[in-house]
Structure formats: C-alpha cells, structure tokens
Amino acid sequence: MDRRLWWFLGSGLAVALIVAGVLSGFAASDPDGLERVAIDEGFDETADEHPLADSPLADYAVEGVEDERLSTGLAGVIGVAITVVVAGGFFYGIRLYGKARRSREPT
C-alpha cells in the first residue's frame, strides 16, 4: 500500500480518536429524537433494562472512572479500538470468503 494511503488512514483514525475521546465529552446529554418521542407519547416506560447494563463500558462510561468527561472519552477511545478490530476482522473474513468463492467458480 502506498504511503499516502497510510497517511490518509492515520489522519482519519486520529480524527476519529479526537471525536470519540475529546469531543464526546462535550456532547449534549438530553434524550435523542427517539427517546424524546417515546417520552412524549408515553411509551418510554416500556423499555426493558439492557441485559448488559452492568457491563464495564455501559452507556459510554468506563466503570470506576469518576470524572465524567474522562470516563466518556476513555470509553470512546476504547470503542474506536474495538470497532477497528471487529470491523477489520469481519472485512478480512469477507475477503477470504470472496477469494475462496472466486477460486471455486472461476469466471
């Protein structure tokens, strides 16, 4: 891969980390559009608690980190890392699948 592509990937990842790690701490905290509609129309109470609500990263906060902005930012950085790994593995798997298919049915 050419060096310019790595530059692009590196700067893109840096932007994602800044957005998830810093900007996220300044995000508005009011209910989002769907939550607002659910509250106004009276069906917000029908939501069940998330089965993984006790997980260490639930609601974009790192368990045990008191400072709210730091906790959100840390969760964001971890989330970007998880997303890169899961997406990378998934797409690599699809590539292998595509290769296998192409070698089975040459066109």
Binding site: D32, D48, S55, D59, G79, T83, V84, F91
Partner: protein, 221 residues
Amino acid sequence: MHIPDGFINLPTSAGFGAAAIGGVWYSIRRAARFLDDRRIPLAGLVAAFVFAAQMVNFPVAVGTTGHFLGGVLAAVLVGPWLGALALTVVLVVQGVFFADGGLSALGLNVFNMAVVGTLGGWLLYRGLIALLPKTRPATVAAAGVAAGVAVALAAMAFVLEYAIGGAGGASVGTVAAAMGGVHALIGIGEGLITALVVGAVLATRPDLVAEAPKMEVMAHG
C-alpha cells in the same frame, strides 16, 4: 435512534431481524466480489469514524438531541455494501459493549440504520447524482441531501415497526408526526456533517471516494 428492548414486541423484532440478516448477507455477498487489501482498512476506518461521530449528540430542540447516523457517508466513501456492513459492525459493538440499543432490538436497529439508512440512502444519492451535473459541489450536495432524507427514512422504518408491534399504545399517527418532525431537524445536522466530510475527502483524496461520479470538470490544477 437506537431502539431499546421492549419498545417493539418479539415477533416483530424477529421479522425485521430476519430482513436485516437478509440485507447483511446480501451485502456480504456483494462486498466479497471486490474487497481487496486496500479497501479493508478504509472500511474499518469508516466504521471507526461512524462509531466516534455517533457519540456526539447535538441539540436539535429544547430538551432533545440528535446524533450523526453515517449511513450515506459510509456508502459514498466505501460503497453501499461495505457501508451497510460498517454500520452493522458499529451497531453490534454499541449493543454488545456499550448497552446502547437493545439485543432483541439489534435486528430492528440494523434494519433501520444499515439497510434503510445506508442502502436506502445510497439509492437516493445515486438518483440525485444521475440528475445533477458531475461536479464536486453537486456530489457534495447530493450526499448531504441524501443523508438528511435517509435519517427521516430510518425514522419512518421505526414508525412502521411501531405500527406493527409497538408497546405502550401510542397512536401511530402521532408517533409518525413526532418522529418525522424531530428527525427532519436531526437530518439537517446529518446532511451538513456528511457534506463536510465528503467535501473534505473529495478535496484531498478524491480517488478514495468509491461512489464519486466521473467528474466533468476536473479540480483546479
């Protein structure tokens, strides 16, 4: 926009979950035809950026916020199939690690945001591109408009799900009006962010915009 468990009953969630699996499987089949070593990191970056941007809620009305969805942005940058799969990865990561979006509702969320919001939004984008001149500003505008409308489409997909199997007995008409109204506002933010990012990538690395039309007028220089 992420549906928690409980809003939509299980049979309806299962039905839309099956539709979501169909959409994801079709996207995998299409992506497998062309995916190469170069596109894997790009698609991974798009997923990471969408995850990051979705964290930043912006106010749209008193006491109400919205956040970026990113389906059309992903589709324009890496194509509809990898774009829909990138959104799917983001939704799975959010549901499994961050308790954002229910687990029985995961299929609903993938259907609304990865299938309707990404593939549906991409169809809109393609329609606009066909009508507009093949220039950079027109491409940026098409991406922005399609992204904004895609948010409203995803909101309407929720209304459909609520009409079929929603809990709490709210009137479908008022839910539709409320969802449409607030997501029209969120769509404006979506359109602006999408236009900004597509514009920035077109200005620096136009070759990395998978769905850019062949430009009639070349960029300066």
